[in-house]
Symmetry: C2
């Protein structure tokens, strides 16, 4: 199965920038520890502190889907609606597709 590259773009609701920062960074270690993870990095837009991009690479779709169902991501997504200005924009690409 082809490698998966996933990109999530997050925008904090006004006043929630610090909480979104904490959430974004708290997902890094547990996600990197998941089977099939190749890379997982959270980046912030220095010109817009509430604006984040999470760049992820997974060995295959099964690993990516296990991540989507993981306890740490599920908890973060549950907290999302209150902290984010809108739903995250997701871009999921298959290598070589």
């Amino acid at each position: 199965m082809p490698k998966i590259t996933a990109i999530a773009l997050l925008k904090a609701a006004p006043g929630a920038e610090d909480k979104v920062r904490a959430q974004a960074l708290s997902l890094v270690e547990p996600s990197r520890a998941e089977p099939g993870n190749i890379s997982y990095t959270a980046y912030m837009n220095p010109e817009e502190p509430g604006s984040w991009i999470v760049f992820e690479e997974w060995a295959d779709r099964a690993a990516f889907e296990a991540h989507l169902a993981s306890p740490h991501l599920t908890a973060a997504l549950a907290a999302g609606p209150d902290l984010l200005a809108g739903p995250p924009a997701e871009h999921v690409f298959e290598a070589g597709a």
Copy 2:
């Protein structure tokens, strides 16, 4: 022609973090002004200040290739080797491919 999503991952050489920051941010406005640009945003890894991701969306490959030949990007890439720890990692995706 399909939309292009391009992602560049940059890592500053030790000591060049501020210069790479200035370069990355200096490309934002001129790139957004280019014909066919949909979005162009530079993000920094707050846990690794020299580590950047540039997320770009272009209307089509022609617009993306014109960007690659643009004076501002050409100048930045020329300065790159001294400022970066290694060549940027590029990921270029075609929508719907």
